[in-house]
């Protein structure tokens, strides 16, 4: 049998836990996996929420400090209680209207496609008191050294 061509690899750091910032790492990851690449995503700081069982279904969009909302929301209005819920509702509606997958659906696709490793940052877990059992099935706890070792073999590295 011919020696299999070494797979390309992409290593991504997902550092943000808002709904809008959860999409880019997962879109890149699923695209790469669809091309047969090896993918590793290191979920760190608030990015850990994306693989936190208690949070991944309810990520939010903050209108404050976000000048790119579909409807412009001045910061002074954005701080009113309930505005984050409104912004999140708007984004969810936009996602549904355009047939975009939800975050849980994208995570599910990474499993179906295979070749995607989801690393939970051990420091973040310690800092924020997130126990192992709060992370989604199939995720791995990793440190920066372990992720760097994985990333050192990657052709593409992204910080999101």
């Amino acid at each position: 049998m011919a020696e299999e061509k070494k797979k390309k690899r992409v290593a991504i750091i997902a550092s943000k836990g808002s709904l809008d910032m959860a999409y880019p790492p997962l879109i890149v990851a699923t695209s790469a996996a669809a091309m047969g690449w090896e993918v590793g995503i290191f979920f760190t700081f608030f990015g850990l929420d994306i693989i936190n069982k208690k949070k991944f279904r309810n990520l939010k969009v903050a209108p404050v400090g976000n000048p790119a909302m579909p409807v412009s929301v001045p910061n002074i209005i954005g701080i009113i209680p309930g505005m984050t819920a409104v912004a999140t509702w708007m984004m969810r509606r936009m996602v549904r209207k355009q047939n975009m997958p939800t975050i849980p659906e994208l995570l599910d696709m990474t499993r179906k496609l295979g070749g995607v490793r989801l690393f939970g940052c051990s420091t973040t877990m310690g800092l924020m008191g997130v126990p192992d059992e709060d992370l989604l099935e199939g995720t791995e706890c990793a440190g920066a050294a372990g992720f760097l070792d994985f990333a050192s073999e990657a052709q593409v590295t992204l910080f999101i």
Binding site: K8, I27, T30, S31, A33, A34, M35, G36, W37, Q98, N99, M100, P101, M109, K112, L113
Partner: protein
Amino acid sequence: MAKIAIDRELDTKGLLCPLPVVKSKLAIEEMDSGQVLRIEATDKASPGDFVAWCKETGNELLESGHEGDVFVFVIQKG
């Protein structure tokens, strides 16, 4: 030119990146080498994406064109 025999069709119309390539990958996994998949897409980036996808996956892009507003790709599994 002789018409290429299609073994499977995939409709990704109305879907945005990354779904056209993700669905194509999942569909082609269930096919045999040499079989032909025809994909319809409306995502504006899909012509470039399918060139890249075929290059990376070793599948062959036999045809890339459009019928009206719909992009059509004919891909043979490598």
